[in-house]
């Protein structure tokens, strides 16, 4: 496969991964609020829990990953590949950091967000980082 | 070098017995360049197969350097083939997954104590004019280039004899002449060659020429060069009777 075709294929892969990152906390491995678990305030209204906010943030990051992938599909030059690679590493790291350190998930171990959403996002983050690393490493 | 005495190869079809090779006598001396001419189905390739020990004769003996190779066990014959016989197939027969140099080295796997080595392989490729394509894979080579590599491969174990089955059959006229020049050079340097072909224009390259027709060998034949159309393959089912 020529490097141009390879670049476009990886771009398509990134777009797909971005979509999966977006869908994971809402549909594939939904967070607590999608399963009816909310914080109840004193006045009785429902409020999303920590995992819900992490999910919203992940939606943004997922969209960015899609944009990076689209960029690579549109223009697969060496420089673009390197740039997309570096940003993919950063975004992959963000996918992992959002639900663990930056925002977090629910504290209870048996909540669905901890049992399924979190590991799924961690895994996706690792995959995106690996792809980014590959793009950076493969010079030509 | 090779002594063929009253050799016959017969196949039985549904209707009758067919003799692909019929009581052939042939002697090849060291340094000879023997050309066997014949149309498709004349039995020349079957004869060649028996010279190389790949086909067992139904009757008669084939002796390579005094040893009767028709009766040798399989594995011993394989070893002998690796060491003594260099074979060039019609379609080159290169292994597509390894490079040209590695293809040349292939026979050394079956003759570990032979003369083959990387250095010799490179030298042979240079000899056949392919040193610039050492690392190329067969799919990137032209038919003529593949044929040259096949010739180098046939020579890697320093065989007593080079056997070529219609080596120029799939080449265009110019490349055919180039390959024949190569064969002539090798023969001048001392390589014994036995070659079969259907092209009578190649006769001048040889030291001796024979014709083959319906399994019978004829000395110094001259088939007309006009009819070069390929004949259809033999009909019916052939059963080996050896």
């Amino acid at each position: 496969m020529t490097s141009d075709k390879m670049g476009k294929a990886i771009g398509a892969l990134l777009v797909l991964l971005g979509i999966v990152v977006i869908l994971t906390p809402w549909i594939i491995f939904p967070v607590c609020e999608m399963q009816g678990l909310f914080l109840k305030t004193a006045s009785g209204t429902n409020f999303p829990m920590t995992c819900g906010w992490a999910a919203r943030a992940e939606t943004g990051v997922g969209a960015l990953i899609m944009v990076a992938g689209g960029l690579l599909i549109a223009r697969s030059t060496t420089e673009t590949r390197q740039a997309v690679g570096i940003f993919s590493i950063a975004m992959g790291a963000l996918v992992i950091l959002l639900p663990t350190v930056l925002i977090g998930m629910c504290k209870m171990a048996e909540h669905p967000c901890r049992m399924t959403t979190l590991p799924a996002l961690e895994l996706l983050g690792v995959i995106v980082i690996i792809i980014g690393g590959y793009l950076v490493w493969k010079r030509e | 070098m090779i002594e063929v005495t009253a050799v016959t190869k017969a196949f039985s079809t549904d209707t009758a017995e067919v003799r692909a090779v019929d009581e052939v006598n042939l002697k090849v001396n060291p340094g000879d360049f023997v050309l066997i001419l014949g149309r498709s189905g004349s039995g020349k390739s079957t004869l060649l197969g028996m010279l190389a020990g790949l086909i067992r004769p139904t009757a008669g003996t084939v002796k390579l350097r005094g040893r009767d190779i028709g009766t040798l066990p399989e594995d011993e014959m394989a070893g002998l083939r690796a060491k003594e016989i260099g074979f060039v197939f019609q379609f080159s027969g290169l292994i597509p997954t390894i490079t040209a140099l590695e293809n040349v080295l292939l026979p050394t796997l079956f003759c570990p104590d032979g003369t083959g080595s990387r250095a010799r392989a490179a030298e042979l490729l240079k000899r056949v004019g392919m040193s610039h394509r050492e690392d190329a894979y067969p799919r990137t080579l032209s038919s003529g280039e593949m044929k040259r590599v096949a010739i180098a491969r046939a020579l890697i174990n320093d065989p007593s004899i080079l056997i070529a089955d219609e080596p120029t059959g799939d080449l265009d006229a110019d490349t055919e002449l180039e390959i024949m020049d190569l064969f002539r050079e090798l023969n001048h340097d001392g390589t014994t060659i036995v070659m079969v072909t259907h092209n009578p224009d190649l006769v001048p390259y040889a030291t001796r020429a024979y014709g083959m027709d319906h399994g019978k060998l004829v000395e110094g034949s001259s088939l007309s060069s006009g009819n070069r159309r390929r004949q259809p393959a033999s009909p019916g089912s052939l059963k080996d009777v050896s």
């Binding site: 678990l37 909310f38 914080l39 109840k40 829990m49 629910c106 504290k107 209870m108 171990a109 048996e110 909540h111 901890r114 049992m115 399924t116 590991p119 799924a120 961690e122 895994l123 | 390739s45 197969g49 190389a52 790949l54 086909i55 399989e74 594995d75 394989a78 070893g79 083939r81 690796a82 060491k83 074979f87 197939f89 019609q90 379609f91 027969g93 292994i95 597509p96 997954t97 390894i98 490079t99 140099l101 590695e102 080295l105 292939l106 026979p107 050394t108 796997l109 079956f110 003759c111 990387r118 490179a122 050492e134 690392d135 894979y137 491969r153 393959a233 080996d240």
Partner: protein, 404 residues
């Protein structure tokens, strides 16, 4: 001069594998699935076994006495951590202490709670106990072993959120975290332990301070943990307890083990059954692919034989290629399975309802090795027949067939 690796048997195999990826992909995937299935089965079993060993050795108590009608619930508390609340009269405690063969007895009160303030929905098992009398919790401590419990001190299970030194609230009452238990993979990971007197205070104040009131009736306990004197027979003492105090049932580690093993048994059958099914389907499939490939390569094999390869050499070559593919596929399958199993281990343990801790490195290596061995074995078997078959044709015929 080229810089290629030394040419030999292994180079030939490697070249055939790397330069024909499309043909090999289906086979590699098949082996990956086989190895992944077996490895997953082994891994989960190892983890369950590890958890059982950890939990059982640390249980400390030889017998646990619970109200007769709540026996099943007590087991679920210990094993799966589904919180419960139940009681019986604490006069039971005095009666038990008097039975011969019993060295120590320690009462516990089980209360299902609303979780602490750091979260919202979800239940934690609160267990109130007498620290001066306790011989189980203290042996379980991972962080801050040897701690003594003072007023409003609480010891948390491994999965409860809250570092040592932080506060945690139950039913509106604030507790200070002073210790954390080691992970067992069982129910106690989701439990917290307080002193009985603090629990009473919590319950009394809960009407005012908490979202929901909890009542702990005085004079009632949920369970009595019993430690036997050396040499005393567990079964004998357990029977005596049940005889003398009819409203009770006894739980022993063996009994618990039996319950878990039964549950594990169901899972084991499922997992190993899957492996068997996958293997049975794969062998003919792989044999078929192998035969197809062998047929495709008959010309190549014929050339090798014409160049001097013996029939044995050809068989060795094809077997070696098959083994290589099976090992590559096996490693891919095991690697992928391992990644998923590790990332999703909590989810899997809950779904399968088994106790689980990550197995030791040795256990994992053993599990991976077994799976790889199976993969290679199948590779060898499925390629044996085609390898022999391919040798049966005459090389020269095969070569020339390709020419016309």
């Amino acid at each position: 001069m080229s810089n290629l690796p030394k040419f030999g048997f292994f180079r030939l195999i490697a070249a055939n594998l790397t330069n024909r990826p499309h043909r090999n992909i289906a086979t590699i995937i098949a082996f990956a699935i086989i190895a992944a299935t077996l490895f997953s089965a082994q891994y989960l079993m190892s983890g369950a076994q590890q958890s059982l060993d950890a939990g059982m050795t640390r249980m400390g108590a030889d017998i646990m006495v619970v109200p007769a009608e709540y026996n099943a619930k007590a087991e679920t508390v210990i094993l799966m951590g589904e919180p419960n609340t139940f009681f019986f009269n604490d006069s039971v405690f005095d009666k038990i202490s008097k039975i011969t063969g019993i060295a120590k007895a320690s009462p516990q009160i089980f209360i299902a709670t609303l979780a602490g303030q750091s979260c919202c929905a979800g239940l934690v098992q609160l267990i109130a106990m007498d620290p001066s009398n306790d011989f189980t919790v203290s042996t379980w401590l991972k962080e801050n072993p040897g701690v003594t419990m003072g007023k409003d001190d609480i010891i948390v299970g491994s999965k409860i959120i809250g570092d040592i030194g932080s506060d945690i609230r139950f039913y509106g009452h604030t507790f200070h975290v002073v210790g954390r238990l080691a992970q067992t993979g069982m129910g106690v990971d989701m439990a917290v332990f307080t002193r009985i007197e603090d629990a009473y205070v919590m319950a009394d104040e809960s009407g005012v301070k908490a979202v929901q009131k909890v009542t702990i009736p005085r004079g009632m306990v949920s369970a009595v943990l019993v430690k036997l004197e050396p040499g005393a027979s567990r079964t004998a003492v357990a029977s005596e307890i049940r005889a003398k105090i009819p409203e009770t049932k006894t739980i022993t580690p063996d009994g618990l083990l039996g319950a878990v093993t039964a549950q594990l048994g169901a899972v084991t059958r499922l997992l190993y059954g899957s492996t068997l099914a996958v293997t049975i389907v794969s062998i003919p499939l792989l044999a078929f692919i192998s035969a197809m490939v062998a047929h495709e390569r008959r010309r190549e094999v014929a050339i090798l034989r014409a160049l001097g390869a013996t029939k044995t050499y050809v068989v060795r070559l094809m077997l070696a290629e098959s083994f290589s593919i099976s090992i590559v596929g096996g490693l891919i399958g095991i690697g992928t399975a391992a990644v998923i199993l590790v990332f999703f281990q909590d989810f899997i343990a809950v779904i399968l309802k088994i106790p689980f801790i990550i197995p030791s490195p040795m256990a994992i290596i053993y599990d991976a090795g077994t799976a790889l061995l199976l993969s290679a074995g199948i590779g060898g078997i499925s390629s044996l027949f085609p390898a022999i078959l391919i040798n049966s044709s005459e090389p020269y015929e095969t070569i020339r067939k390709g020419e016309s």
